[in-house]
Amino acid sequence: MVRLEDNKFYTEAKPLEALPLPAKVYIPLSQHLGKPCLSLVKAGDSVSLGQKIGSVEAHVYSPVHASVSGRVKAIVDWPHPVLGRAKAVVIEADDSCGPQKMDYLPREDIGELTAENIKNIIFDSGIVGMGGASFPAHIKLNPPKQVEVLIINGAECEPYLTADYRLMLEKTQEIIKGIELVVKCLGIKKVFIAIEDNKPEAIKAFRCFNYNICVLSSAYPQGGEKQLIKSVLNKEVPRGKLPFDLGVVVHNVATVFAIYQSVYLNKPLFERVVTVTGSILEKPKNLLVRIGTPIKELIAFCSPLKEEPAKIINGGPMMGIAQYSTDAPVIKSTNGILLLSKKEAAPLPEEYCIRCGACVRECPAGLLPCMINLASERSIWQEAISYGALDCIECGVCSYVCPANRRLVQSIKRAKLEAVR
């Protein structure tokens, strides 16, 4: 693991702010790990805010909901921030189709809800892991066997991002209520809230409640599920197994907040907090954004720009995905939009590996990135696997530290793909 310059100063003091309602949203039918949804609506239909518009028959999936009230214009192939291109439902906002804000009808019978009820609400609300993995949340609440420990992930170790941080500061109560719901679903006693020490304010906010706060020294990629389990419990998830097998479940703070909203307020997941940041923005912000809003609208709201961005990233700088188009929309797992200047994004020349060993020492998975890289370049996939390619979590640390600017992650990803073939 490495200590990174966290660059959170751009937005850490910026309170959550709602982005004005977009004229059109492009809601991808696949925003989760698992089978993509099929559209439940067709062009011309009128939909209201929060209405379910995508679902599918499958074991692993999560439904999607309308993020504005309006008219369905079309179902199109559209830029997708993670998948490149995918089917999306285009909805034009229209006040005559319904309210544009939810008049929440808080549930009054929370105490009477059974674990089963809660899980159903969470599933119906389309909640997925919002830290980036997008794994449907209800599945993680339905472990195949009894689990003992719940870890709430407030590490937010990616540089620049402050979406989770602001949520922890401003919605502490709500997150705590969300945690109570998860505890009820899983029937567990032990809860740890893991926060890195570069967020003292958040730690203070949670200290007022009766939960174990686990203060971690900031290091990247500590927010990765497996790394977090190691940091908090000093246990490792065995290779090829899941945290369940250790009796552990990890949920991100943003997910827990969405769980709170779904159960207490009847509100499906149709908006989320996105950090819009970078040195070239005049007004970087933490925005509350409707799912499906094209990222160019977020950027326009935080403009003017000091210069044209050379690279736009969905997510953080270490694991985020570079976008080819600003038409790509915000999805459930979009925790940040990062703009890099020409200078910051300039590709560095690749040189020969000098075997300095930095990548080996820092790799949180204990692999030999430099050796995988060499094997991968010679297309000897078997050898790449023998150095551990399949255990790579793609955190990017190896490429980050490499003085020779080797494209380590890229070649390891390639080796992984080839190996499955």
């Binding site: 700088p317 270490m318 040189e351 020779a404 494209r407």
Partner: protein, 312 residues
């Protein structure tokens, strides 16, 4: 907004460090002992350094130009190789000797393998061993310190390994460099200043130098005298090229193991071989050979000291 955005795989952030920067900083860390060498042995030392560095750089440039590869002479690695070679030579060698050595270092030690990062052996040591085998007389004629003229003089190490007690040379002399020897190896104080810089800036780790020096010290204490446990281990550490070799040559990234565990094995191996050569071998000094032999063992060490994969 224009849509001709840069698209590349993550990560999109990079540590501010480059091969070039590392090479030049290591070169910088060698400056104190170079200055000490000039002070102790006179301007002849400066000439040897200049010739070796120039020959190394020109050879690298020429070979890259002829084979139409990318010209990388400015990355500092050729300068470093030339300088390290010079540090391993006596100060009054004929002018062509450092030139021949540097050409050999770069051509045979480095470029035939494909250039920086591809070589198996430390190039400077390859050059040195070649000179040693070809012109042993020049390589073992040392200048007396502070006299500035070539008076043949045996090194303290030669006396030491023949089992003689050191006369007229105190530990302080050894530490400050007031002894015959190669240009860059004699002033331990200057070497330690450079080494401290590299350690503090984390360009090298302690594993190789300390295990190397510790092993050498321990074994020479145990076996270095007629009776067991009576060896003059301090002199063994301070004389010859051990400190230079342990901090600046055994730690060469390209030719040493990747993991700390492997580096400890490497250092211990170097120490073992050094002492065997010093005490029982035909040469008085064993540092160069020890490092070269362990260079050859590095792929094997790497194989058996892999890091543990998370969750296994």
């Amino acid at each position: 907004m224009r849509d001709n955005l840069l698209v590349s795989t993550s990560p999109h952030l990079h540590k501010k460090e480059s091969v070039k920067m590392i090479m030049w900083l290591v070169t910088l860390s060698l400056v104190p002992s170079g200055l000490a060498g000039i002070f102790i042995f006179g301007l002849g030392a400066l000439w040897v350094m200049a010739l070796a560095v120039a020959a190394a750089v020109i050879t690298e440039f020429a070979l890259q130009a002829v084979t139409r590869r990318k010209i990388t002479v400015l990355d500092g690695s050729a300068v470093l190789t030339g300088l390290l070679l010079a540090y391993n030579l006596p100060a009054d060698v004929p002018f062509w000797l450092p030139v021949v050595g540097a050409v050999f270092s770069i051509a045979i030690g480095k470029q035939v393998f494909g250039g920086l990062g591809q070589n198996i052996f430390n190039p400077a040591l390859v050059g040195r061993v070649f000179l040693m085998a070809s012109w042993p007389k020049y390589m073992t004629t040392f200048v007396k310190p502070m006299s500035y003229d070539a008076v043949t003089s045996a090194t303290p190490l030669a006396a030491l390994t023949e089992g003689k007690a050191l006369e007229n040379i105190s530990y302080l002399d050894l530490f400050l460099g007031n002894r015959p020897g190669c240009i860059g190896e004699v002033c331990i104080l200057a070497l330690l200043i450079g080494a401290a810089f590299l350690l503090l800036r984390k360009y090298i780790s302690w594993h190789i130098p300390f295990s190397y020096i510790f092993t050498t010290g321990l074994l020479s204490y145990v076996f270095g005298a007629k009776t067991l446990f009576a060896g003059d281990w301090i002199s063994h550490i301070l004389s010859g090229g051990l400190v230079l070799g342990a901090f600046f040559m055994a730690t060469d990234y390209v030719t040493s193991p990747l993991t700390y565990k492997g580096q400890l094995v490497f250092g211990i191996g170097c120490g073992l071989i050094t002492v065997v050569i010093r005490l029982w071998g035909g040469y008085p000094e064993g540092v160069s050979y020890a490092i070269l032999i362990m260079n050859a063992a590095t792929p094997m060490i790497d194989r058996y000291t892999r890091p543990r994969i998370y969750g296994s």
